[in-house]
């Protein structure tokens, strides 16, 4: 049981000061810009919600948002099942576990623009293994010209980059399951599927929630890798929200619209994270009730 003690605030003060410096002040700057316009010379005047309306109605924002949503959706749909499957297939003990873990964690620690560079090189038709290989079996592949190829390259790159995180999380959840659960299942003559569905999946639910949330946030915020590989092209085909935002803020220096877009972007992430969290934990409660009901049956 935790004790009530307001002096504990003192221990939180350093974190608060630091995060205030690196989060609250910048965020206030953004809020400040989002409701003002300027003609230069540091003269600002109030425009209210004008920028927000402009952004929310602009075709450009809608398209970027849809592309980002589609990207995150595809990423989750591929990486989560694949990650679970690999984690299930991992060896349970011995030297090979360390070897697998180290090799799998490797892509996670490569700087993001180097990840971009690796795939930019790997996919090139003239000097890349992937591009050259596909060309030599007669597939017309060019990620700088063809929209589908660009998307496929980015998705495979992200799967390459981040699936290991899902694997590591799920694996840690799986090794934490006590052996007695499996023994009980064997006595009941449970099939492999029901072992997975009723023992393994519920037990890794907590880490899986973390994996889904982290993967969602990071794929929704992705900037560096697509910027290096495709630069948002061909055309605007891979211009995700973050790329669009940086272009607007740093490239065109449209501070007001960029600030308004930043806030909307941030709110979308918060909202979707909350939805994921609520959906996944409410399902948790239902299965608990289900178990109780099943247990209560004569």
């Amino acid at each position: 049981m935790k004790t009530q003690n307001n002096k504990a605030w003192l221990m939180v003060v350093p974190v608060l000061l630091l995060v205030a410096l690196s989060a609250i002040i910048p965020l206030m700057t953004v809020v400040n810009y989002s409701v003002q316009d300027t003609f230069g010379n540091n003269e600002f005047f109030w425009v209210g919600t004008e920028w927000f309306q402009e952004i929310l109605q602009s075709e450009r924002f809608h398209n970027a948002l849809l592309r980002t949503l589609l990207f995150s959706g595809l990423i989750l749909a591929i990486e989560i099942p694949l990650g679970i499957a690999i984690a299930l297939a991992m060896p349970r003990g011995g030297v090979w576990v360390s070897v697998c873990l180290v090799l799998m964690a490797l892509p996670l620690l490569i700087p993001w623009n180097v990840v971009g560079t690796i795939w930019q090189v790997f996919g090139r038709v003239d000097i890349g293994l992937l591009g050259h290989g596909l060309a030599s079996v007669g597939i017309d592949y060019n990620y700088t010209q063809n929209t589908f190829d660009a998307w496929a390259t980015l998705i495979i790159m992200d799967v390459w980059h981040w699936t290991s995180l899902v694997v590591l999380l799920c694996y840690s959840g799986l090794v934490a399951i006590p052996e007695v659960f499996y023994q009980a299942a064997r006595i009941d003559g449970a099939s492999r599927w029901s072992v997975f569905r009723y023992i393994q999946l519920p037990k890794i639910k907590r880490v899986l929630l973390i994996a889904v949330l982290l993967r969602f946030m990071d794929s929704f915020m992705i900037y560096t890798e697509p910027f290096v590989v495709t630069g948002g092209g061909p055309g605007n085909a891979t211009t995700f929200l973050s790329i669009d935002l940086v272009q607007m803020a740093v490239g065109q220096f449209d501070l007001g619209p960029a600030a308004a877009m930043s806030l909307i972007y941030f709110l979308v992430i918060l909202l979707l994270c909350w939805v994921f969290y609520t959906v996944m934990t409410s399902h948790d409660n239902e299965t608990h009730e289900g178990v109780h009901r099943a247990g209560g049956r004569p």
Binding site: V121, L129, L168
Partner: protein, 272 residues
């Protein structure tokens, strides 16, 4: 028994296939880093026919290249130390006490992990310009605290909640003061938690480019930004680029190797 044997076989094959898929692009980069530019562009070979270390020599002798690595390591280590040392007392407070607004504060901290770096680029630049900190290592280290401090608090809180409260109480009865208890006993109890938190701070600070690039000009420029600049300027020297990429993988690989046992344990215990 036959089906389970086949199952084992299938598992081994799929895990191996996955690892091959992970290593193939890295292998290709490694392969390129040992070739000269002419060989890369003119012939297509699976291994270097004219093996050369020139690309690595270029990097280790040119200060504009190797200072990038030093800069990156300096701010990453600064960030890791700051984030973990600030997060330790806060995580203790969250795991042991109830206080006014604790849940809201914890959740608010986590929302900072969800803030897109792209949103913070411009305000960060203005903030650190105002303090005259642009192009210093500490500016990048502080800016990366935005996402690393919440993560460190989250991880450490999970580990600390795994340590029974009775240990704290026994220590106080034995006459330990709080700072002495915390530094002598408690930190050693959660050492693997500290290791995991430091690993994640190192990782996320090492791989970040957007903020690090914005806040630096020359003196503190990270290696990843040096790479992008050289790509656009010197007409694509693929060999040097590949060698530089390979060298950015090495620190990460070393860190993983040292914490490999903690990671498996840490994931299971903590809330990562």
């Amino acid at each position: 028994m036959n089906t389970s044997r086949r199952m084992q076989y299938l598992k081994a094959v799929s895990v191996s296939a996955y690892i091959v898929f992970l290593l193939l692009p890295i292998y290709w980069l490694l392969n390129m880093s040992f070739k000269n530019n002419q060989e890369i562009l003119s012939t297509f070979t699976l291994w270097p026919t004219d093996f050369t270390l020139d690309n690595y020599i270029t990097i280790f002798t040119d200060p504009s290249w190797y200072s990038g690595y030093i800069n990156s390591l300096i701010y990453v280590l600064m960030n890791t130390v700051i984030a973990v040392s600030v997060a330790l007392p806060a995580a203790y407070a969250f795991s042991r006490y109830r206080f006014v607004g604790d849940k809201h504060l914890f959740f608010w901290l986590l929302t900072n992990r969800m803030a897109p770096p792209a949103v913070f680029v411009l305000p960060f630049f203005q903030l650190y310009s105002a303090f005259g900190l642009i192009d210093t290592h500490i500016a990048v280290a502080l800016a990366h605290c935005l996402f690393n401090v919440p993560l460190a608090v989250w991880i450490l809180e999970g580990f600390m909640s795994g340590v029974p409260r009775e240990i704290d109480e026994t220590a106080y009865i034995d006459g330990y003061s709080f700072p002495r208890f915390f530094l002598r006993i408690f930190t050693s109890l959660i050492s693997s938690g500290i290791g995991v938190a430091a690993f994640f701070c190192f990782m996320f600070s090492w791989v970040e480019l957007l903020i690090a690039r914005t806040l630096t000009v020359t003196d503190a420029k990270p290696i990843s930004a040096v790479m992008t600049r050289t790509v656009s300027a010197s007409g694509l020297d693929w060999g040097v680029l590949a060698a530089a990429g390979i060298l950015t993988i090495i620190p990460g690989a070393l860190v993983i190797y040292f914490v490999r046992n903690h990671i498996a344990k840490g994931f299971a215990l903590g809330r990562v």
